[in-house]
């Protein structure tokens, strides 16, 4: 699991594991810098994550949104140190100033599940079917704290109660299969917050659930987050979930962040054509206009042979020769704290409805 990068051996020595401070602002909790992840395969090197940088502030909800294969899950697995050994990880992940990726396995493990917790999409595979819920919750406590088992079970019951599971004490003896999907996800949330983490990484936590249960779980997640004062990195493909809970949003495409901004301004005024394309692809829940959807043509590029220029160029209605040649970096746009990776963000800013660029021929003809 050691991910020391041969290209930056000095990092390992110059980053003392405990008290380095890298000029972080006071409320910055986690800073990811130039994170890359690649997987060697028979067909070539898959560049799943190609330079991701972002920061998470204390108690905020950062939404990471992207389609399948955009690297949103892989990048968060990398910062948890949960990728398979074949993965090549470079870059830095500073948690309260220390670089997690340079820590020894033992120290990484001490952070995982205690300071940084994770909630997975499928609670049935994340929970062990042959241990009772109580055992599993107690184990989460006991692997980080020395205390009597009985006390750990007390803590487990307290957590189950907090996430809204009735008769928490009795249900400790139940096994995962005795819970419904929504209840299992509540157990996962209880397990994530049982050690009062500073940050919860939630990877598609409600994707497998029905809408009425999803609403329950998201509400519980926010209540619990506020109770333990944690920040959340919310990874999802569902722009509706993001719109409801994320303070800031990062949009990923082909392994890179392409737009980062506060959620409201981003949804109202996207400054990256890909984000605008996503907005145009979603049917409205609020009105029944029979307007055509505005899909993004084509499919995401292969992560083995990426174009030289902008990765979105082949699908982009705004592309020019410049986009073919150089990949645009994340730069500030017309508003502070709204960064986008596009040579032509001014064109999006100049129109009222940026999704109009994605109008299909049939719509223009109508």
């Amino acid at each position: 699991m050691s991910m020391s990068d041969p290209a930056h051996p000095e990092d390992a020595t110059t980053t003392p594991p405990l008290d380095a401070v890298d000029g972080r602002t006071s409320d910055e909790l986690l800073r990811v810098e130039d994170l890359t992840v690649s997987f060697p395969t028979d067909d070539g090197l898959v560049q799943a994550v190609r330079g991701v940088s972002y920061s998470v502030r204390e108690r905020e909800v950062l939404g990471i949104v992207g389609e399948s294969g955009s690297g949103k899950s892989v990048s968060s697995m990398a910062l948890m140190g949960l990728l398979p050994k074949s993965a090549r990880v470079t870059g830095s992940v500073y948690f309260r100033g220390r670089d997690v990726l340079q820590l020894r396995e033992k120290h990484q493990r001490a952070l995982r599940g205690s300071r940084i917790a994770m909630i997975f999409q499928d609670p049935m595979t994340a929970l062990n079917p042959v241990y009772s819920i109580g055992d599993q919750l107690a184990e989460a406590v006991l692997s980080h704290h020395t205390m009597p088992r009985k006390k750990a079970l007390d803590r487990a019951a307290e957590m189950l109660d907090m996430v809204g599971i009735p008769q928490a004490r009795e249900r400790l003896r139940n096994y995962p299969h005795e819970f419904s999907g929504g209840m299992r996800q509540r157990v996962m949330i209880a397990m994530a917050v049982i050690n009062n983490p500073d940050i919860i990484i939630a990877d598609e936590p409600t994707t497998a659930l029905d809408v009425t249960v999803q609403a329950q779980i998201l509400e519980t997640l926010i209540e619990v987050k506020d109770a333990v004062n944690a920040a959340i990195i919310m990874i999802t493909h569902d722009l509706g979930v993001i719109a409801g809970i994320a303070d800031r949003t990062l949009v990923m495409y082909a392994g890179k962040p392409v737009e980062v901004a506060e959620t409201g301004p981003m949804f109202a005024n996207p400054r990256m054509p890909y984000t605008a394309g996503l907005m145009g692809s979603i049917p409205s829940l609020e009105d029944s206009t029979n307007e055509r959807l505005r899909p993004i043509k084509g499919t995401p590029p292969s992560l083995i042979s990426l174009p030289i220029g902008c990765a979105f160029e082949p699908r982009c209605p705004l592309s020019t020769a410049e986009c073919l040649e150089t990949e645009p970096p994340l730069t500030e746009t017309d508003k502070p704290d709204h960064v986008a990776a596009c040579h032509h963000w001014q064109k999006l800013a100049a129109v009222d409805d940026p999704t109009a660029y994605f109008r299909t021929e049939s719509e223009v003809g109508r």
């Binding site: 419904s180 029905d210 809408v211 409801g244 145009g280 692809s281 049917p283 499919t299």
Partner: protein, 352 residues
Amino acid sequence: MTQTSPAPVSAHDEHVGEHLLEVRDLVMHFPIRGSGFLRRVVGQVQAVSGVSLDLDAGETLGVVGESGCGKSTTGRAILQLHTPTAGSVRWEGKELTELPKQEMQAVRRDLQIVFQDPYASLNPKMPVNDIIAEPLKVHGRYKDGGPARVKELLQLVGLNPEHGNRYPHEFSGGQRQRIGIARALALQPKALILDEPVSALDVSVQAGIINLLEDLQDEFGLAYVFIAHDLSVVRHISDRVAVMYLGKVVETGERDEIYRRPSHPYTQALLSAAPSANPEIEAKRERIILEGDVPSPADPPSGCRFRTRCWKAEEICATEEPELVDRGQGHPVACHFAEELLEVINPDDVTP
């Protein structure tokens, strides 16, 4: 797009052959067998309990509900992929539940299905070309320009025709769903039962498929039974909507009736729980958060099946099952206390 629609799903309509597809009081129970030697039937999973639907040529009926509500089972029972326990399914006036196998095959030419799980519905040992050609071969339409038709179909669903000799495992989940759609379109059917056709796709791709489905409908006059849990997709594509809960239709009507004036508490809760991709609306919304989970269809509650989670439930709900009739809301609602709740998700609330 909006059809001059017939009276929406009415439970006791005796006219035959007026609609392309008529489903009446469809019941689908699955036996629960004991673990003993005799494997005696110890219970029934009441997946569908008396569903009635109509579908006209060229229209889209959205069937929406959460997992376990019986929407997929209804779709399959219409196609006789499950033999219905009771009830009637009429296709162009023909009673499908009594149709001999051979005649049923001819019906399937006109009435196709796209399945929910693209991993399970494609044969992993067949190249994609063969998968799409199979319905053409089965119905004797392959010899006449079959390979060209397969290429055309692949292109139609946004796949590269050159990838036709690849196997399903070489495609992503989304691409596999497109293969399933191409296969369903191969025989140019009159109606498609679309069982969660876009839930496996990324939004940008999903939008393309929805546009494609709309184009095909305009071009060939296809009718769709669009089964989905995504409320915004259903609102976009449907002419009429039926909301299902635990094996029953609880509310049905014209799309705008359902979305603008939901009258069943479950519809209201469902609409209020659906996340909207509009942060301003999300910030102002009052959610109705339902308690608990859907009860087991093996042991549904007496009376109204929604009463265990309903905030309006009273004694009568446990004893008397509410009928699906118009109670003054302009469309049928199965609730004793049906009451219009205007615009659960009103965009006008948000003044910029």
